[in-house]
Symmetry: C2
Amino acid sequence: MKRLLIKSLFALLLFANAAFAADPLPSWNDTTPKKAIVAFVEHVTRQGAPDFVPVAERIAVFDNDGCLWAEQPMYFQAFFIFDRIKQLAPQHPEWKTKEPFASVLKGDIKSALAGGEHALIEMGMATHAGTTTEEFEKIVTDWITTAKHPKTGRLFTKMVFQPMLEVLSYLRANGFKTFIVSGGGIEFMRPWAERVYGIPPEQIIGSSIKTKFEMRDGQPVLVRLPEINFIDDKAGKPVGIQMHIGRRPIAAFGNSDGDLQMLQWTAAGKGARFCLYVHHTDAKREFAYDRKSSIGRLDKGLDEAQAKGWTVVDIKKDWKRVFPNLKNK
Amino acid sequence: MKRLLIKSLFALLLFANAAFAADPLPSWNDTTPKKAIVAFVEHVTRQGAPDFVPVAERIAVFDNDGCLWAEQPMYFQAFFIFDRIKQLAPQHPEWKTKEPFASVLKGDIKSALAGGEHALIEMGMATHAGTTTEEFEKIVTDWITTAKHPKTGRLFTKMVFQPMLEVLSYLRANGFKTFIVSGGGIEFMRPWAERVYGIPPEQIIGSSIKTKFEMRDGQPVLVRLPEINFIDDKAGKPVGIQMHIGRRPIAAFGNSDGDLQMLQWTAAGKGARFCLYVHHTDAKREFAYDRKSSIGRLDKGLDEAQAKGWTVVDIKKDWKRVFPNLKNK
């Protein structure tokens, strides 16, 4: 009798485990996007099916800012840039009177960003170059382990989207190779993306500055130069994908017009394709923005998604949970 | 009795199988290089050993020309360039009188190459740009399936080094990710490297020209432009490694001075490292060349290998077989 009970409990446990395994996307509501993701994965992984895709060709690409983690009130890398400016200020007395640095040092972020993209690039160069690649990795690692979001007080690495983490895991469990294709700095993402997203450095594609090989005291180093190498945004994304991956993805996930060409490039391949836009609609749990936002604008992309039948995630409606539950982490 | 016999035969079979499995490098003589490769792999893969390296960090990089396949009497990609010039000549009547194209069309390769690197780059641009990435992939695929080496009459893809194919497989069987890091064209290698070396497109690093995303009749394409994007040679190799892989390899295989910085960069990391040079010493079975060769010169690298104790393969002495046995293929 006791043995029977144990057997029954064991069977129940197996059943519970199977039931759990049957929902790889527990933070998604059972609405259209979740169904579309699961249907796509089942189509391309079923041996013998017309849309079957061999494992080697199961390439999925993800934007980072606004797709895998939040991007408001500004790209998280901008917080890093501003913190670096404060950190480096003692070595740059001229910054006290030189814009946009002076505004950053006064804490006036709005004025600092008034110069638009040009100002941001200037600050990026000043804070991302001049070190070796190893030094820069340490700088990013130190920053990311302590820096917190001004609104939520969470570590930036806890501002990742739990439903998207589940998609990453689900795809990998089905033989996909997952890549990040971001407008953000490639070396800003690599130091933590493996720990946070399970994506290794060789599967990160991003914007970059040039580096130069040098011998210093008999030791080889790669020095980061204040010169743009590649901008991995908009029409640059398919270029970056070709450069790094060399084959067309079969699935692409983005959230802004900056991802449109990546989705177009993915969608235009032969066979089954999956394109998804995350639409930020939840002002309460996250942020609500789209057609008029200066950060992560989703305008043309939203129209094209509707016209082409791409999957659009309405965060408010489709996600049970937005961020990871901190208590469980 | 019969059962015993079957049992014995079965045991023998298992033993034979184990014995076979115990030699992952059958085309290598039991000389120093083979022992060094096996010792390194055993050191870094033994859980708990001081030199243990986690799977994610087991990155091995390989030069291509002269390391994975032959490179004499000239880089195989140069044969491709010359064949392309002949193919494209009808669309370029001006080539009949314009050097270096005129010499190629006359079959005078020596004169065509007299202009050195500049001439080769000019011919490379004229033959590698102006198509979409998909068109170029087809052009390379068509060429590589039929083009043969002038001396051996073998397909170029049968001019790969059997002992190196075994090293690639052996490393992968031990959790390594294998990459090509070549001065050759990235899009010249990708169409066939997976079939021939088992290395997927996303693990190929090479020289490249720029590409541009465009819409043609509503379809997105990547157009190849006659403009250099990156030269993956000499000091460019560590730069290419950082750009594509984002972490330092623990093993590097090359054969020329063009690989020296890649080996230096690999060797300078912490923990166990393995650097190997293939030294072309076998005029009978392959080609013999080193310090004075214009193709694949190995001069400074040979000195540094000796000074630093890197492994140097003497093809004549260390390889049982050079090329794959065609009868078995």
